[in-house]
């Protein structure tokens, strides 16, 4: 536990001591919130028949997307941080176990995501009369699935870094945006053509977003969607963990690990 706490402390220190990282943490999600928040208010004023529900749905979608995105980034950027500072070998030879490193990065991601989501919900309440109570307790099971999926994708992108090193850096930011259009985040599942739906339904995020919209529309939370998303998350986590471990072993064999470490 002490080593996991140390990893968390270390990443928190690295973050709060860097104005650039702090700006990056808050700037983009807040700006996105303003864009989508005002856009949905504009649509509501145009009276397209959705009224205030549109704002609630879009702001929730945005916050949920940020949960997924930030949790994915927390793991991959934690590893990137070590690459940038050429510190990987120091950590790999220390008593810190790989699992402790990953768990530390997860907890750090949870803290970061919690702070951003709290800020976004606060700003949404202030500017758009948004009420968290629209989702209430169900915010928790939905967030859990998004965090798990984000962490899983984070393992995948970290695996890419282990395999291709700095050449794969851009993918840390690109991969989540490959997922975004196919997760029914800002529009419902019914929008997708039939041939694409099986792919869309494989992603746990789709089930979370659909259940969120259903909850707003009907006031009923679909637990079935929670368990489907959770089951898919287990499958993805296992697959991505195997991928990441194999890439680590490959990096250890082909020398990529020490080459990119300095």
């Amino acid at each position: 536990m002490k080593r996991i706490r140390t990893v968390v402390l270390r990443y928190v220190l690295i973050h709060i001591k860097s104005p650039a990282r702090l700006l990056d943490l808050f700037f983009w999600p807040v700006m996105e919130l303003f864009v989508w928040g005002f856009f949905s208010m504009y649509l509501a004023k145009m009276d397209v028949g959705l009224g205030a529900r549109l704002t609630i749905t879009l702001v929730n979608a945005l916050v949920f997307w940020d949960i997924l995105y930030r949790s994915q980034q927390s793991l991959s950027l934690a590893f990137m941080e070590e690459l940038w500072t050429r510190n990987v070998v120091n950590l790999l030879i220390s008593p810190l176990r790989h699992l402790e490193w990953v768990l530390g990065a997860y907890i750090y991601g949870l803290i970061k995501t919690g702070i951003i989501v709290g800020l976004l919900l606060g700003l949404a309440t202030l500017f758009y009369a948004f009420h968290v109570s629209a989702l209430g307790f169900y915010l928790i099971p939905m967030s859990v699935n998004l965090l798990l999926f984000g962490y899983g994708v984070g393992l995948f992108t970290t695996g890419l870094l282990l395999r291709w090193g700095h050449a794969a850096e851009a993918l840390i930011w690109a991969i989540p945006f490959l997922i975004q259009p196919f997760s029914a985040i800002f529009y419902p599942l019914s929008v997708y053509p039939g041939w694409l739906k099986p792919l869309v339904l494989i992603l746990p995020s789709t089930h979370v977003m659909e259940s969120m919209r259903r909850l707003i529309d009907t006031g009923v939370y679909d637990w079935r969607s929670f368990f489907i998303a959770f089951g898919l998350n287990i499958v993805f986590t296992v697959l991505f963990t195997v991928f990441c471990v194999r890439m680590l072993e490959r990096g250890r064999t082909n020398g990529q690990l020490v080459r990119m470490a300095g």
Binding site: L13, I14, K17, R86, V89, L92, R252, L257, A261
Partner: protein, 252 residues
């Protein structure tokens, strides 16, 4: 002094078309400072990375403190450490914060005192609150040396630790290492291109060239064997000719 802490037999590391190490054998005795020497690309750092467990060998047997560097990592890691002029620490943490983090990872007892003492020994006390990124390369190397000594390792791997140090600080570092060896029985595996330094520090050395072990012995034995007046001349002779013929006997 005679118990081997590192045993390497038939060590091979092959990348696609290159043999980085081609059947290297050596052992390092407890309390010894053992130098791995050779031109750039000879395979010295590759050997150290394999002994640290961050690189897998293609073939061969390796034992570090009687353990496997990869399989027994949790038991081995607290007993060894590493410093390289090419490995750094997070730039935006202060020098002291970086050491505090590693002290926690290594579960160092009385960490605060230990850190203060090491920083004083490596003349870093005045820079303790400075951001690591603002330190000169020589200061960062000394910070890395502090990190490497935090856990009182039994075995220390040093990869060109004095590469970026001025002569005064390089001398300080050498004296510190000799003190650590004397007072704590530290064993050191050392790479350097500074042959005068190697002569002053190392009990035995192994010359590696193109992945192959070419000569092993004390610096004096090696000089005698190749009839050269300094280790530097032996280095140049081996690097340029690859001729391992024993000049004293004519045997290869």
């Amino acid at each position: 002094m005679n118990e081997p802490v590192v045993r390497v037999a038939g060590l091979r590391k092959r990348y696609k078309n290159v043999n980085a190490l081609d059947g290297v054998d050596f052992h390092v005795r407890r309390g010894e400072i053992y130098g791995l020497l050779g031109p750039n690309g000879a395979g010295k750092t590759t050997a150290i990375h394999i002994l640290l467990g961050v690189l897998s060998p293609s073939a061969g047997e390796i034992s570090v403190l009687g353990l496997s560097p990869v399989r027994d990592r949790p038991r081995l890691a607290p007993r060894i450490n590493f410093c390289s002029a090419y490995v750094q620490m997070p730039f935006n943490l202060s020098a002291r914060q970086n050491l505090e983090i590693y002290a926690r990872l290594y579960d160092v007892a009385n960490a605060r005192e230990k850190i203060e003492s090491l920083m004083a020994q490596f003349r870093l006390s005045a820079l303790a609150k400075n951001k690591t990124g603002s330190l000169s390369s020589g200061e960062q190397t000394r910070l890395n040396l502090c990190k490497a000594m935090l856990n009182d390792p039994e075995l220390l791997f040093l990869d060109e630790p004095t590469a970026s140090l001025d002569p005064d600080i390089a001398d300080l570092v050498r004296r510190q290492l000799i003190d650590f060896r004397k007072n704590k029985g530290l064993t050191i595996v050392y790479t350097s291109h500074n042959m005068a330094e190697v002569e002053a520090l190392c009990d035995r050395v192994l010359f590696i060239h193109r992945g192959r072990a070419m000569a092993e012995g004390t610096p004096a034995e090696i000089q005698n064997r190749f009839k050269q007046e300094s280790l530097e001349k032996v280095f140049i002779h081996l690097a340029r000719t690859g001729d391992v013929t024993d000049a004293s006997t004519g045997a290869s």
